[in-house]
Every structure is written in structure tokens, then in C-alpha cells.
């Protein structure tokens, strides 16, 4: 830079040329950094007042477990009462608060999906505040999880990814399943595209993280498209009985199926109605 300025000034000999070049360089570097750096692009969109509003909401609704500055609270036994939130990112807040999991009603094995307590504006303010603590995954752009124009080939590929990465916990029909110690993988029915994408990105609770670097955004979108197509399918086989596989189907077969068979057997063998108008005079001469 100094070399460039020196050469320019020797040619033009303008007294302010050097200053102009330095200013231009600073502007280009700063502007380029602002444009290219994803973290600053995200935090740049949240105004200071939004972060401030989020901070106020955080102090009222979240700080009792997560600490006054989201630093987390450790119990006497050394376990986490509320985990630290630095670096979890706006996507985690949008998922946890947007599905009603946070604020938790009571401590437990796992936060449950329930009624959403904050409106959209408040959720984005909370997300902006938590994102301001440390860089983390941002709320995904709607175009990344838009599945309207996904072709069949991608849906099939999404199915392969789903069966490889998700079915172990969430069941082949996305009906969810049990985990040890009262924890569970929730059903994916009725979960919005955005929340599935955010869960993959942030790994809420026991769920592993599937970062964009390893599971590409297009692959995540294919998984979501596959789920949507599965859930739009009619139940060809009749009642799905919770899609829990042999447990519910076996229970149904044993109770309803064999129960009906036993009922018929009892009916066949039961003593039928007898008439009192019998001819007693012709009593059998038994030995």
C-alpha cells in the first residue's frame, strides 16, 4: 500500500492523493469484510434496540436457569442447571423457543414441545440477543428449506439420508421413539420445515449436530422434502397404529385379533337357550 501511494504521489504530486488512497483502501477492506463475513452479516441485521429488547426478555424469562448473561448455571452436583448459551446461535433459540420447548415448565429429562409463549417478534429479539453473545449458527434463510420445487430424485436421495442418519432414533416413519432415562426422540409429524432444519443445524438436547459442512444444506432440504412426501402419502395399509412397528401391531393382534377368535370360540361352545316345553315323559333311560 505504501509503495502504491508513493508511486502515485510522485506522478501526480497532489497533496491529498495519499490520504484519498488510504481512505479508499480502508473503505474497501472494511466493506469487503462486512460483505464476506457471514457472522457480521447476521449480527448486522439485528439492530441494537432489538438486541436490547431481547436482553430484557432474557432477564425475565431465561436468566433464572441460564444465568444473567447466558453463562449457564452449574448445580452443586456439578451438572448443568441451564447450559451456557454463548455460541449456540440464533437458530438454536429460534428452534427451542419457537417450538415451545423453552422456557421449560420444570426441570426434567428433556424439554417438551408445548404451547409457544413468545410471539415471532419477541423470538427474533431473543435470538438476536443470544446471537450477540458469541457467533453461532444463524436462523436459516427460507430459501434453504423451501421444498416446493424439489424433484423426485432428490426426494429419493433425501430418503437415503433419512434412513442412514435419522431413523435410528426417530423411527422409519418419523413417529419418534424412546431413549434411556425418560428421554425420547420426538415425532416429526407436524414439525415445520424451518424447525427441522434448525434442529439438524444445532442438535437440540440429545440430538447430534449435523453441521452444514458435513450434511450439505441441499441434503438437509432433501431430507425435509422426503419427510413431507412421506407424510402426504395416504395410509395404504389402513390404520398405522402409531407406526411403532411390531409393538403396537402385536398388541393389536393379541388383544383384538385373538380376543375376537376367543369370543367366537366361546360362542360356538356355549350352551344355547333351552326350552321348558320339553317332553319330560320321554326321559332317557340312562344306566
Amino acid at each position: 500500500m505504501r509503495l502504491l501511494t508513493a508511486r502515485l504521489s510522485t506522478k501526480r504530486r497532489s497533496p491529498i492523493a495519499g490520504l484519498v488512497v488510504v481512505l479508499l483502501g480502508l473503505l474497501l477492506t472494511g466493506g469487503g469484510y462486512a460483505l464476506l463475513s457471514p457472522a457480521s452479516a447476521q449480527s448486522g441485521t439485528a439492530s441494537q434496540s432489538t438486541v436490547q429488547q431481547g436482553r430484557q426478555l432474557f432477564l425475565v424469562g431465561c436468566s433464572s436457569c441460564h444465568g444473567e448473561h447466558g453463562e449457564g448455571i452449574v448445580t452443586k452436583r456439578g451438572t448443568q442447571y441451564g447450559p451456557p448459551l454463548a455460541g449456540v446461535g440464533a437458530a438454536a433459540v429460534d428452534f427451542q423457543v419457537g417450538t415451545g420447548r423453552m422456557p421449560m415448565a420444570r426441570p426434567g429429562a428433556q424439554a417438551q414441545k408445548k404451547k409457544v409463549l413468545y410471539n415471532d417478534q419477541e423470538i427474533s429479539a431473543l435470538a438476536a440477543y443470544v446471537a450477540s453473545l458469541a457467533p453461532g449458527p444463524a436462523i436459516p434463510d427460507p430459501s434453504t428449506y423451501n421444498t416446493t420445487n424439489v424433484d423426485t430424485q432428490s426426494i429419493v436421495r433425501g430418503g437415503e439420508f433419512f434412513r442412514t442418519n435419522c431413523t435410528a432414533c426417530h423411527n422409519f416413519a418419523a413417529a419418534g421413539g424412546a431413549l434411556p432415562g425418560g428421554k425420547y426422540a420426538p415425532s416429526l409429524h407436524g414439525v415445520s420445515n424451518k424447525h427441522i432444519y434448525e434442529a439438524l443445524l444445532t442438535g437440540p438436547q440429545q440430538m447430534p449436530v449435523f453441521s452444514d459442512g458435513v450434511l450439505q444444506p441441499s441434503e438437509k432440504r432433501d431430507i425435509i422434502a422426503y419427510l413431507n412426501s412421506v407424510m402426504a402419502n395416504p395410509d395404504y395399509g389402513g390404520a398405522e397404529l402409531g407406526s411403532a412397528g411390531p409393538v403396537s401391531e402385536g398388541l393389536f393382534a393379541w388383544l383384538i385379533g385373538i380376543g375376537a377368535c376367543v369370543g367366537f370360540a366361546i360362542w360356538i361352545a356355549s350352551h344355547s337357550t333351552r326350552s321348558t316345553r320339553s317332553t319330560r315323559s320321554r326321559k332317557g333311560a340312562s344306566a
Binding site: F210, S211, G238, R282, G284
Partner: protein, 371 residues
């Protein structure tokens, strides 16, 4: 059917009279003193006729009920045939009752009802109108009569003496020898069960420097893309490679056999949560560890990963492995810890294997030993 009740009662009378027949008592067969009825009067209730036996109207009503069942059954068969042609299946199926496939539901329902109504009609027919006579069938001795048994033994002895098998030991012994030799083809046939597996159970396709790639996509993995809490269902890169002719190096059965042993999972934990056993300190890359995906119990693929507890749970029989502690079994029927694949970073910065697994993966087998 009215008027038949007289016959029915008479039939019953016959049955009861027939009970104390000599030679067919209820006691065990082969009693020395001959059959004796242990119960002079077993207490059979006297026969009472059904309403349909004595009442013409009741009988007619039952008849109409049964006929209605059969006709309704025929009606449901007709509905089945109609549904077969009416409801669309395929890409754009007809649905009813809030999302059920109409074709399956109606075909199953109508055919089921048709069969059920035939059954109900038949049962009702037997209960209401068919002959209602109690029948007593005496138990017979299981042994054959003395005369038959004597005759059989005589025939056997006659055969032995006619063939002369006792008098000609050469024939007898050579026959026994020939029959014994017939066992050899059976034993030789077992040889075709194949050569012994050799070291196939102990080695996988993993080699030093082979990249760990994402399953399905086949993309290599950079350690900086793997976050704390991440789970990657991974495969050796060679399963996605193609040979000089552009054909996959592994395909079909070979691919499945290779995958069965070489499937892995990559997880990342905080480095302070990992306590490697001596010798395994450099098997991970800053908290990134790679383990076999095949359960050591009976070989189910496991990827039920709890990122906060660092437990890996097998969905088949609930074996639980602690991956922060070298894959140790902490619950369930698995007998051995989950084998770990030593990881390194190759020259281009991708995750790769340091070597093959250092122990056989998957379920235990006889030749494996205790290690």
C-alpha cells in the same frame, strides 16, 4: 324342523343307552379283569330341546337369520368386485376416511365381512337348527388285541428264519458295513458348505490413509467442519471409488459384505470428556473419534447417539456403549467394547484411517478368542 324334536329326543335316548357297552369302559386299556365301568351313572344331564326344536316360529326365524347372513355375504362380495374397479391406486390414489387408501380399505373390509358372515351363518345354523343330540363316544383301548400282537410277532420271526439272516453272518455283516458307508456321502456333502472363512471376520476394507467419507453422499470430511456433538454415519472412501472402466470397485453382494464390516460412525466430543486407554491417546483428532457402527452383540447397526451423555445405544437389545470411555459397554447384553478406528488427518486435511480396525468388528465368534 318342527316335529323333529321327537326324533331328537329319541336319538338322545339311544345315545345314553349306548353308554355302558361292554368292552369299552372308561378305565385304562389292558385291565386284567376286563373292562369295568368305573361310574355307573356319570351324571349326564337329561336332554332339553331348544326353542327352535319345539317352536315352528323360532325355527323359521333362525332359518331367515342364517339365510340373511349368507345373502349379505354375497352382497359384500358384489361390493368387493365393484370396489376393485372403482377405486384408483397408483400415483394418484383415491383416499377415504381421512387419508386411508380407499382400494385397500374397501377390498379388505368387504372380503373380510363376506367371509365373516359365512362363518357366522354356519355357526348359527349349527347352534339353532342342526341336530342337537348329545353323543357319547366310548374310549377304546390303545393297544391292539392280543391275537393281533401274537400274529405280528409270529410274522416277524417267520421273516427272520426265512431270510436266514441269523444263520449267515457274512451277509448280515456286509449289509451293516454297506449301510454304515452310506453315511460318508452325507458327511462329504458338508464340505460344500464352503471353505472356512479364514481371516475374513478379522479384517475390513479399511487401510492406512483411507479417507472417512459421509455415508450416502460419499463426501470426505474436514475436521473443522465437524462440530461438538456431531454424528456422522460414515463409510470408507473405497466403497465410493470407481475403477479404470468407470465401474464401482465394490457393487452388489461384495459392497454389502464390505459395508457390513466397515461401517463406522464419527462423533465429536469435548476433548476433556474423553479418557483414552493407554495406547489410544492419538487415535482421535481434537475430540473427533471413529467407532465401528456394528454392535458387538449380534451385529445391528447402531447410530443412536446421545450427544450430551456420550452414550451410543443399540436399538435392537439396548446395549449401551460409552464412547467417551473407549466404547465400554455400560448396559445391555453386548460382551465387548465397540471397536475403535484410529483416525488421523491426511495431507489434504481430510479425516482418514491410521490403519484397519485393530480387532475384529461385530459379534463374537468361536475362533475370535477372549481379547
Amino acid at each position: 324342523m318342527t316335529g323333529d324334536h321327537e326324533d331328537a329326543v329319541r336319538g338322545n335316548q339311544d345315545a345314553v343307552v349306548a353308554q355302558p357297552q361292554p368292552g369299552h369302559g372308561l378305565e385304562p386299556a389292558g385291565h386284567a379283569d376286563g373292562p369295568v365301568d368305573p361310574f355307573a351313572d356319570p351324571g349326564l344331564e337329561e336332554h332339553e330341546p331348544r326353542p327352535t326344536d319345539v317352536d315352528e316360529h323360532a325355527a323359521r326365524r333362525a332359518e331367515r337369520q342364517i339365510a340373511a347372513c349368507f345373502m349379505l355375504s354375497a352382497f359384500f362380495v358384489v361390493l368387493f368386485c365393484i370396489s376393485f374397479f372403482v377405486f384408483k391406486i397408483g400415483n394418484n390414489p383415491t383416499t377415504i376416511l381421512g387419508g386411508y387408501g380407499a382400494s385397500n380399505v374397501t377390498l379388505g373390509l368387504f372380503l373380510g365381512l363376506a367371509l365373516l358372515l359365512i362363518g357366522i351363518g354356519a355357526i348359527q345354523w349349527a347352534r339353532k337348527l342342526m341336530s342337537d343330540v348329545e353323543v357319547v363316544e366310548m374310549r377304546h383301548p390303545t393297544a391292539s388285541s392280543e391275537a393281533d400282537r401274537v400274529a405280528t410277532v409270529e410274522a416277524l420271526q417267520q421273516g427272520v428264519s426265512d431270510s436266514g439272516i441269523a444263520r449267515r453272518p457274512l451277509i448280515r455283516n456286509s449289509l451293516v458295513g454297506a449301510l454304515a458307508m452310506l453315511g460318508l456321502p452325507v458327511i462329504l456333502g458338508l464340505r460344500d458348505l464352503g471353505p472356512l472363512p479364514g481371516n475374513k471376520l478379522s479384517v475390513t476394507v479399511w487401510r492406512k490413509g483411507m479417507r472417512v467419507v459421509n455415508d450416502v453422499a460419499g463426501t470426505p470430511i474436514k475436521p473443522e467442519e465437524v462440530e461438538i456433538g456431531q454424528l456422522i454415519n460414515s463409510q470408507p472412501e473405497i466403497l465410493f471409488e470407481k475403477d479404470a472402466n468407470g465401474q464401482p470397485k465394490y457393487a452388489g453382494t461384495e459392497l454389502l459384505n464390505a459395508k457390513t464390516k466397515a461401517s463406522t460412525i464419527v462423533v465429536r466430543m469435548k476433548p476433556e470428556d474423553i479418557t483414552p486407554t493407554p495406547g489410544r491417546e492419538n487415535w482421535g483428532v481434537s475430540g473427533i473419534l471413529c467407532f465401528s457402527k456394528i454392535c458387538t452383540h449380534v451385529g445391528c447397526p447402531i447410530s443412536l447417539w446421545e450427544q450430551q451423555t456420550h452414550h451410543l445405544l443399540c436399538p435392537c437389545h439396548q446395549s449401551t456403549f460409552d464412547l467417551g470411555n473407549n466404547g465400554k459397554v455400560i448396559f445391555g447384553p453386548a460382551g465387548r467394547p465397540l471397536p475403535q478406528l484410529p483416525l488421523m488427518v491426511d495431507s489434504e486435511g481430510y479425516l482418514a484411517a491410521q490403519s484397519d480396525f485393530t480387532e475384529p468388528v461385530g459379534p463374537s465368534f468361536w475362533e475370535r478368542g477372549e481379547r
